[in-house]
Every structure is written in C-alpha cells, then in structure tokens.
C-alpha cells in the first residue's frame, strides 16, 4: 500500500510496430500485460507500485493507431491520437466542437500533448483509496473504503453505485456518448464495434473494470458518425480548480431542432457514477419541447432522480441538475 514515487518495478517492455504484433503480445501475456498509451495514468500506477504488470505493451510506435481520418460522413480517430491533435483537427473544430471542448478541458496543454484519446476514455478511476493501494472491491477485496461512515468521498458517485462508489474521470467520454460514437475493439479473435455508451461499465457488471476491455483486448479507434455533425452542442465541466483538474461533474449534449423546438437530443454526464451516464429519460422528456426554462427545469429534475449522495458529496446533486438545465437551455438559462 506504500506510495513510493521512485523507480518503477521491473517489467518487460514491448514496443510493437503493428496492431497485429500488439494483439499477439496481449494474447501471450493475458492478465500480466499492461497497455501503455500516453502513460499519464499508467506511470502513476507503476511508480506508486500499486500495479505490477510483468509486460508493458507500449503502443506509441504503432502508426495505424494514430491520426484522424474521414470515414464516410464521419470521422475515425485512432486510439493513440493525442488530445492536442483532436483539438486542432479542422474537421473536429468544424463539425464536432463538442469533442473539441471536452478534449480541451482535459488536464493541461502538456498533458494533452502526451495524453491520447484512447487513454482518456480507458483510464482508471481517481478514487484515492483505490489508487493508493487499499485492498478495496475494485482491487479484488471485499470492502469500499470510500463508502463507510467516516470516508472522504467528496468526489465520489451519487448514482449507479453498487458496492464501489468510484466515478469515471474521463472528459471526452460524455462527449463521445452524446455524439453517438462507436469504439473499435480488437483482439486475437477479431474486431467488435460497440457504442460508446456500452464501452463503459459500472461496478454492478464488473467491479474491477471501468470498460469492457478484457485481457487481450485493444481499443484501436473511435468512430464518430456524421449524424450529429454541426449540431447544437453544449459541454461544461465543473472542477475544483479552473486550471487543470478532474471533473466533479461534467455534461455534454448534442441537439438539433426546428427553431427553438428540440427534435433530436443526446445528453450524457460524467463524474456522478462509475460510468458516464446517458440520460435517456431526459432525452425522451425534452424531445419535441421548446428549449425553454420550463423544459430545462424538467430535464434537471429528471436527471437527478434516484441520486443517493454520500456523506460529503450532496453538492453534486444540485450541480448535476443545474448542468443538465444549462445543457438544455444554455448557460444563460440556469
């Protein structure tokens, strides 16, 4: 459990030059393998000596995982594309400013230069009990130290908790869900494409993972369809410090309509549960309604249905409600 920020424990470093080679390595090492993308989450784990993989598979040399390509009427973003590349890409800026905003809100410029979009959506939770090596549910134990009568749980979940109350820290995840993106996952047994919404899983499904990725799986690309290109977007991330920090709550929405009437809408929040949540009930409730204060209030109230705050995070309930209101009505409406 000690936190020792010094040299990492020894491991075999593998630097494949192709996805096929990477998949062979992941298949060969199974649970002992660790996928290294930008390294920003990984090096914390390794230097703290909490995770001790035997083999680290560094994806930085695989060119086919990098870059943004036009694909049909949408985009395909390689998993190793840096957040800075996402932010600067003309097509993203022109048609998918929601993703631009989300990626731009992640961490600092230096971190965005190194951090990848694949790593951003696949990073582990920031729950400090878990990250400092406490033997909790997520680490294979049988207790959640963040959900005890004396726990410090200001940043933890208000929705969807199932034994573990950790939250997903990704900034781009809710934006990708709102854009109806798909995740391309490959393994030795083939390729599968899953909606972004289903890429993330909660503790009820698997308490030790935050995504569907199993040993041997590799996220290779993210596909964004043209469906929501140029729609009306809203992204807001509330954090403790306005320099760089993880979200306390974030919201992302994509909307289109006729005048002020909402015809199509997708809305997702993050920082409130172990997985980014798509708010289907809110979408259904506001579809066909005017973008008014009344609709926004309805959306906000619906969004927090079932919220169950812990000792120190009750503030997240009104925060989430107001962010959802703003996502519907605009920042001026809340």
């Amino acid at each position: 459990m000690a936190v020792i920020h010094d040299v990492m424990p020894s491991f075999g470093l593998y630097q494949p030059a192709s996805v096929a080679d990477a998949l062979n390595l992941l298949d060969r090492h199974g649970r002992d393998a660790w996928i290294l993308a930008g390294g920003l989450d990984s090096f914390d784990w390794l230097k703290d000596r909490i995770k001790r993989p035997k083999a680290v598979v560094d994806l930085s040399g695989i060119s086919e995982l990098q870059g943004i390509r036009e694909s049909g009427d949408g985009l395909e973003i390689g998993a190793m594309t840096t957040l800075t590349e996402v932010v600067r890409h003309p097509a993203v800026r022109e048609r998918y400013s929601l993703l631009l905003e989300a990626a731009e809100h992640a961490a600092s410029p230096q971190i965005r230069n190194q951090g990848t979009i694949g790593g951003n959506v696949s990073q582990d939770t920031r729950c400090w009990y878990y990250r400092t090596g406490w033997f909790c549910y997520r680490a294979g134990g049988n207790i959640c130290y963040a959900d005890t009568p004396t726990a410090m749980n200001r940043e933890h979940a208000i929705l969807g908790a199932d034994r573990c109350v950790a939250v997903n820290p990704s900034d781009t995840a809710p934006a990708l869900i709102a854009l109806d993106a798909s995740m391309v996952v490959r393994s030795k047994s083939g390729e599968r494409v899953v909606p972004a919404e289903e890429y993330f899983i909660g503790p009820g499904t698997d308490i030790t993972r935050m995504t569907i990725l199993q040993p041997g799986d590799l996220l290779t690309a993210i596909r964004i369809p043209g469906t929501w290109g140029g729609a009306r977007f809203y992204f807001e991330k509330v954090r403790d410090r306005n320099v760089w920090d993880f979200a306390l709550v974030s919201v992302a929405s994509a909307m289109s309509g006729n005048g002020e009437t909402i015809e199509r809408v997708r809305i997702a929040v993050n920082g409130v549960a172990a997985r980014p949540l798509r708010l289907r009930a809110v979408e259904d409730a506001v579809r066909g309604k005017a973008r008014s204060e009344e609709t926004a209030k309805l959306a906000g109230d619906l969004a927090i249905q079932g919220a169950l705050p812990l000792q120190h995070n009750a503030y997240k309930v009104p925060l989430m409600r107001n962010l959802v209101k703003r996502a519907i009505r605009g920042a001026e409406g809340a």
Partner: protein, 284 residues
Amino acid sequence: MDILTWGHSPWGERILAHISWNLFWASLFAGIVFFVAHASYMVLSAHRKRSAAETDALEIEHRDLPPQIVRHSLAARLFHWVMAGAMFVLLFTAFLPVAGIKFPWVTWHWMAGLVMAGSILFHIIHASVWLDFWSIWVGPKDIPEFRAEILRELGHDVPGPKPGKYPLGNRLYHMAIVLAGLAVVISGITMMVRVRTPFFTRNPYLLRDTTWGLVYVTHGLAGVALVGLVIAHVYFAVRPEKWWITKSMLLGWITRRQYLEHHDPHRWAVESIAAKAEAQRSGQ
C-alpha cells in the same frame, strides 16, 4: 491451485478476502464427474426395490391402505419449489459472472437470498410443528440401513431394512444441504450489511477485517458446495428410477405399490382407510 485469496488491511495485516474461483470450477467439475460416473454405474447396478412377487404379497397384506399415499403436503411442496427457484437464481447470479457472463447481479442475488432465507425459516417451523421432524435426519440408528444400501448397490440381495419416509440418500443429502444452506444464508445476511439494501444501515466496519474475511470465505465455500449438491439433486430428480419421487414432489402423493416397493411400512406407518374413517367418525 489456489483455494483462498488473501489481501491486506489498511494496517498491513494479511487478511482473508474470499475463496478462489478455482473452487467453483472444481465443484462444477466434481458434480459433472459424479453424475457421469453414477449414470455409468447404474447401467449395471442391481435393483434396490423389492421384487415384484414380494411387493404383490405386501399389496395383499396391506390392501386396506389408500391407493394414493400422501408423501408431501402442499405446504412442503410449495417450500421446496420456492427454495429451488431461489437457489437457481442465487447460483446463476453468483456464478454466471464468474464464468464470464457479466451483468448487474448483486440486487437479484440478495433478493433471491432473502426469499431463500424466508423459505428456510418457514420450513423449520413447518417441519418442527406439523411434520415428523426426525424422519429426515440421520443417526446411529441408520447404520444397518446404510450397510444394507451399500451391499445392494454392490449387487447383493440383502433383506436388510428398507427406508422409512425418506431414503437414506435423501436424508444424507438433506444433511449436506442443511449445512451448506445455513452457512450460505447466515453469512449472506451478514454480508448484506456491506451493500445498499432497504433493510440495513450499511456498516462495513461491523466486524473486523479478519472476521469479514471468514464470512466471505464461508459464503464462498458454501456457495461452491451448493453447485455440486444442486447438480447431484437435479441429476437424481431426473433419473428414471427416481422419477416417482420427483413426481411426488409435484403431485404430493405416491401410489400404494410404490410405497410398498420402496419403503418399510413399519418405519413409515400410513393410516389405513378403515382407521382413517374411524378417526373421522370419532372426531379425531
């Protein structure tokens, strides 16, 4: 093969966490091996019921018995099937995720656990007050029957004792299921203190870390034991020569001939038609 998994408390103590899931696969394997081995053996095994001639003679002797003999009351059958349903939900919700089929299982699991706990409580009261409580238990008095059963299984024609209401295998199985069932229910209800339910205020610190480890290991061991026990139970329930017992758990009764074929009328006495009528006349 690891049997237990260990972790460490925040104070660095080595603590039990839970059982290794290898044990689940071991129990599943053992259950399947048992039924394959037993099914193979039964192809060659001797009949264990009375001969037709002997049963014919008994039928003449006991012709005043009713044609249908009640083996399981409605309450007993309801308990059995409610418990069976809860058991399957419990096993599937516990072990399908281990087998790789992931879904949110915890709420279904504890709800089924409460149904099972409630049904067991009902069964204890029902069996203590309304049934012949001791008819299902085994003890030293059953050693001659055990010996006779073993010899019959080995193909010997043994005149030794026949079972009372429940065959010896039935009673031994009941003993095993009582031990595993009570262990899994008591540990499971204790574990509910650690998850969110409408019944308890969560308190993960109710017990010491080491004690919690023992509770989780007990639950796991009893759970994997139940995998093997349930496989064995279902196997025997569908075996052709046991179908009359399964049918009685559905309908509640067996025929007079089945009663005489498989049971010892002295150890499981059934009221004759005349005695029943007399009892009704005298208002008993």
